[in-house]
């Protein structure tokens, strides 16, 4: 399994890429592997205000439903519109083609709560 060093992670198995005040968010390689074949994705809409720690979308595999929790607060500025039509992209390319949403951060201090790649790998080892 792959956990790029340049990304941040959460205990809920999302990854975050920060560029200026925009955060790109997706689910980790571990998350997609645990879910299995992903068959449905529900994303928030552009303009939605997200609150850190609150559900903002849904990912479903054949067997299971999983909420996506927004790791950070902010306004949705872009969503991966191809994803709902090709949810399997989350399995095949979780960190690139499978990105889910981009948000404009409203509380950059929340970045301090995110995990780096090493801490995240420690966390999933315990699972």
């Amino acid at each position: 399994m792959d956990f790029p060093d340049e990304l941040k992670y959460t205990e809920e198995h999302e990854w975050i890429a920060i560029e200026a005040d925009i955060a790109t968010i997706g689910i980790s390689d571990f998350a997609q592997s645990q879910l299995g074949d992903i068959v449905f994705v529900e994303l928030p809409e552009v303009g939605d205000e997200l609150e850190a720690g609150k559900p903002c979308g849904v990912v479903e595999s054949v067997k299971a439903v999983s909420d996506i929790y927004s790791p950070l607060s902010g306004e949705v500025v872009e969503i991966n519109e191809e994803l709902p039509d090709a949810p399997e992209t989350l399995n095949t390319s979780p960190y690139e083609d499978g990105w889910m949403i981009k948000i404009r951060l409203s509380n950059p201090q929340e970045l301090d709560d995110l995990l780096d790649a090493d801490s995240y790998q420690e966390l999933i080892k315990e699972d």
């Binding site: 299995g36 074949d37 068959v39 449905f40 849904v58 479903e60 595999s61 054949v62 067997k63 439903v65 709902p84 039509d85």
Partner: protein
């Protein structure tokens, strides 16, 4: 948790193990969709050793079983199998099962894993309340391993491993024989809608049989398959599953099981209640719904017809073949017969669906 004889073999294959009715079972190996496609196009091998085997024998065995099951046992000849059910007096279902006739005085019931103890208690209570001379009911579940080899390549894979003439072993028939040198029972049955076999072997030979089949089948595309694919395969074919479409609270006549409920065969447990229900009108019907928008229906989701709540989803999934959400749903008979527009409510959002004639695939 209970374990099948293949527990170590599953772990070696990196299967994802889950608790299934108190049994630690593989839900998937390579992935539900890949395993599903293998069964539809080549072949898959399932460990279903958790299923229960109950042996019923004696000179009154046939009379007893004819009274406690819904289907007509007298239609069976030696070596023939029948899908049937046990009903309560009120008409709800104790369990659904396959019934094997070896001789007129020797039968085997293959029952759902979670119901083994309940079924045994039920059968024994009925046996003791009647006057059945020379009747023996034995739980053989721990003595058997059970593998299901399913898919269009199943016969090609099994043939070189057995002297039994598989061409002559037709659907819902069984034969004793050897496979890979192991004495077992070959049954031409399954729960996937594809051709295939279920092999009842001695528990301590299960691993050897599993390995032999996987090895022989590999060049033909055979892969191990878990309960995840077993569920999507049966659901695409509209097959009922205990705990979903089948329960004490659902009549077999509601669950599309009228074909195994032979009300004209004579008296049997539950018959009076079922006759009465038929006279009053069967209140609900099991139907097939297919989402016309993205989404995955799940058990318990409310079903709307022409804007009105009419029932609920009993089983739902994303069909790997259709790549659409599909569901079996128990709905008011009136809606089932004359309803127009259908919706399934998923997470408080009503998703458009269409009613389809089963099976889905």
């Amino acid at each position: 948790m209970k374990k099948t004889p293949l527990n170590a073999a599953h772990r070696q294959l990196n299967a994802r193990m889950v608790d299934f009715g108190g049994w630690e079972m593989p839900v998937q190996y390579s992935g539900v969709i890949a395993e599903h496609q293998a069964v539809r196009t080549t072949a898959g091998l399932f460990d279903v050793s958790h299923m229960g085997e109950i042996d019923v024998s004696g000179s009154s065995a046939q009379e007893f079983l004819q009274y406690v099951t819904t289907n007509d046992l007298t239609r069976l000849t030696n070596g023939k199998i029948q899908y049937t059910a046990l009903c309560y007096g009120h008409g709800g279902v104790v369990d659904d099962l396959t019934l094997y006739r070896f001789t007129a005085e020797h039968f085997m019931l293959c029952v759902n894993a979670a119901n083994i103890a309940k079924d045994l208690d039920w059968l024994q209570s009925l046996a003791s309340s009647g006057n059945y001379a020379d009747l023996r009911i034995t739980n053989d579940s721990d003595n058997y391993g059970l593998l299901a080899l399913q898919g269009p390549q199943a016969q090609t894979i099994l043939a070189p491993l057995t002297p039994v003439h598989l061409d002559e072993l037709t659907y819902y028939h069984c034969s004793p024989g050897t496979v890979a040198g192991i004495d077992l029972l070959i049954s031409r049955t399954g729960y996937t809608g594809e051709d295939g076999f279920e092999l009842y072997c001695p528990a301590d030979a299960t691993t050897a049989l599993w390995q032999a089949l996987l090895e022989t089948g590999k060049p033909h595309g055979l892969i191990p398959c878990g309960l995840g694919a077993r569920d999507t395969l049966r659901l695409e074919k509209g097959y009922a599953l205990y705990g979903h479409e089948i329960s004490a609270d659902i009549l077999p006549l509601e669950a599309r099981l009228g074909w195994i409920t032979k009300l004209a065969k004579g008296n049997f447990v539950g018959r009076a209640a079922l006759l009465k229900a038929r006279e009053l009108g069967i209140p609900r019907q099991l139907i097939g719904l297919k989402l016309t928008v993205p989404g995955v229906p799940r058990q318990g989701c409310p079903v709307l017809c022409d804007g009105r709540a009419v029932g609920f989803v009993t089983s739902g999934t994303s069909s790997p073949t259709l790549k659409q959400g599909i569901a079996l749903a128990l709905v008011d008979t009136q809606a089932a017969t004359s309803g127009h527009s259908w919706q399934i409510e998923i997470r408080q959002s009503a998703k458009d669906a269409e009613k389809i004639t089963l099976p889905f695939v």
